[in-house]
Amino acid sequence: MNAAPPAAVIVFPGSNGDRDLFETFERAGFAPAYHLSSEPLEPGVRVAGLPGGFSYGDYWRAGMLASQAPAVRSLPDLVARDGLVLGICNGFQILVESDLLPGALAGNAPPGFRHRWLEVETTPAAAGPWFSGIAAGTVLRMPMAHGEGRYLHPDGPGAIAGRMPLRYRANPNGSMADAAALLDESGRILGVMPHPERASEPDIGSDDGMALFRSARAWLEGSG
């Protein structure tokens, strides 16, 4: 068996989902470590996770200030080394603000912070490192907890059709095309608005989120 791939859980001022993400990486067979956002990632890291929370208090625009952090600026180097990136909730907002993913995440419509369990469904775009072995049409149950998750792309739904791996079965926030997640062109960078890391054991409601983490680990082991 291969050694557990090193995973960096990037901790921003105001992160609150870092421990959930750490434990889920560990459960999926990664070797996680917390990593302060003020430092670039080390070369040995194979996957970086940007957790949920309220980085920098969501000042000015959610994710904007965190998008300038040295750890975030080093993410393209990780991807160039065939590494993977997962941004969850506020982490997704940071990836969009840093232009690693296109579009924008605006305030929910109707407005308000919403937190509840919901179902997302994989689309034909659910492929690559984060979704290998997960058939299109698979329903995953996981919680949401956000106030700014309405995904928009300036060129309309057609621009994201091939890069939207998860759609809400009942849209909770007004997202374009019911988008719950987005991949970059390489498929290595995934932003997801609901929380797969909080769906990691049946005792808390679901372990459906583990599928993404197990897929990423299998992909990393396969790619050496």
Partner: protein, 89 residues
Amino acid sequence: MARYRVSVLVRPRPGVMDPQAEAVGESLGSLGYPGIEVEWVGRTLTMVLDAPDRAAARATADDMCARILVNPNLETHEITVTAAGDGPG
């Protein structure tokens, strides 16, 4: 060099849904103000900076907007430049 006060008003791009404006409008209506339509909710940043002239101060603010302060997918902005007085804006 001279000192300038620069205000950046960031607001939702026309045509982009503005749930905050709708919610605030509904709230005002419930307080007994009839016929209210809140057109948009935005935010303002005011700063004081040194620049050779007013145009250069505006160009600096434009650069800040393009780089970080404005998300063009969602937002548009207006910049106002005035000579900085002694007190805060």
